[in-house]
Symmetry: C2
Subunit: 211 residues, 2 copies
């Protein structure tokens, strides 16, 4: 019994934060099927690359950045998820820091953009399901790890970090409890610098690299 041809792709849910909202990268499709609909960036895996390398490559082609956190999410392989042929896609999610979320002046610039997770257009293929899965994972991960830092510039205020958590979790957090917890975990270290953004200047912190 020989195996029918199955193609292997990667799709990436690229998150960033802009204007206190969690957003992700979508590309408007220029060709059928789903012409004109929005889809996740992605593409086929090449012969000599790992799955992760394929994801990084696609990500770089779309955004120009390489400094991102990337993690495998789940593999979607229903026989009819792509109407053209059988495609199994390994989904990844990526976190790109606010100050590096590019404006995409590259190749497909016109067709690509950041869309707030809370107001997404309807997506091509099963990409809606993939996004849902990714948002869930990100929320869970945030509860018990430090992934959040991957979305901020290297120096940030605690208020910015809190805004980020609130944007991702979709709920408000108590300022004092949040600060105590973050500082108590020791994942963050204070810098001498201040940021004069609001009224009263705020202290800047940086992520303490522990590995």
């Amino acid at each position: 019994m020989t195996q029918q041809r199955i193609q292997v792709a990667v799709d990436i849910v690229v998150f960033t934060v802009q204007e206190q909202a969690l957003k992700l990268l979508l590309i408007q499709r220029g060709i059928a099927p789903f012409k004109g609909r929005y889809a996740l960036p992605g593409g086929f895996v090449l012969a000599k690359e790992t799955l992760e390398q394929a994801a990084f490559r696609e990500l770089f082609e779309e955004t120009g950045t390489t400094d991102v956190y990337l993690e495998q999410l789940y593999t979607f392989g229903d026989p009819d998820r792509d109407p053209r042929s059988r495609v199994v896609t390994v989904a990844y999610y990526a976190l790109v820091p606010t100050d590096k979320s590019p404006l995409l002046a590259g190749t497909d610039a016109a067709a690509a953009g950041w869309y707030p997770v809370l107001a997404l257009p309807s997506l091509a293929f099963d990409h809606g399901k993939i996004v849902e899965y990714a948002v869930d994972r990100l929320r869970n991960k945030l509860e018990y790890t430090n992934v959040g830092f991957q979305l901020l510039p290297s120096k940030f205020t605690l208020s910015a970090l809190q805004d980020l958590h609130e944007a991702i979790l979709g709920k408000e957090l108590d300022k004092r409890n949040f600060r105590r917890k973050v500082l108590g975990l020791g994942l963050v270290k204070p810098s001498k610098e201040m940021q004069a953004t609001g009224r009263k200047p705020a202290q800047l912190f940086s992520f303490r690299h522990t590995t």
Copy 2:
């Protein structure tokens, strides 16, 4: 740029518990590469089945059981993980209840068997890595869900449940705290029956289905 042929397989880490030890199903390979080495059950995905169906099918072919918990684990796709050709494998793990872990009188019976996780032989391909990943996941899952029940017969004593947890986590648990927690979570309901196994008879419980 066309994509080179990539094959898609599923591999399954099938867990069970026998004699208070966590074990998994391995099959001794009859052909090269890795002839004579042990490997996880698995095989190629067919044209018209989902990934999960493929995993269930393979599992049934090896064990004859269908009454199992099955969950996707991770997808492994390094270009050289199979020396013959490029194979991307979607790994699943399965939990089969103690009283249903079959003795494998089927086709490849001679070559298949249950091996304790704590004393595994060296495995073919990257299956060692897959197993490691599966054990980690199972341990994590156990901490905050009820997967444990999937490994026990429908009626069980609390001591059996505790032994199971200890076998998976690899550490001893306090009896009183364990019982309080399990009962407090309300995931388990007492039955009227008693089991006369040890010295003093023990009360039997069953998993409370909540979905």
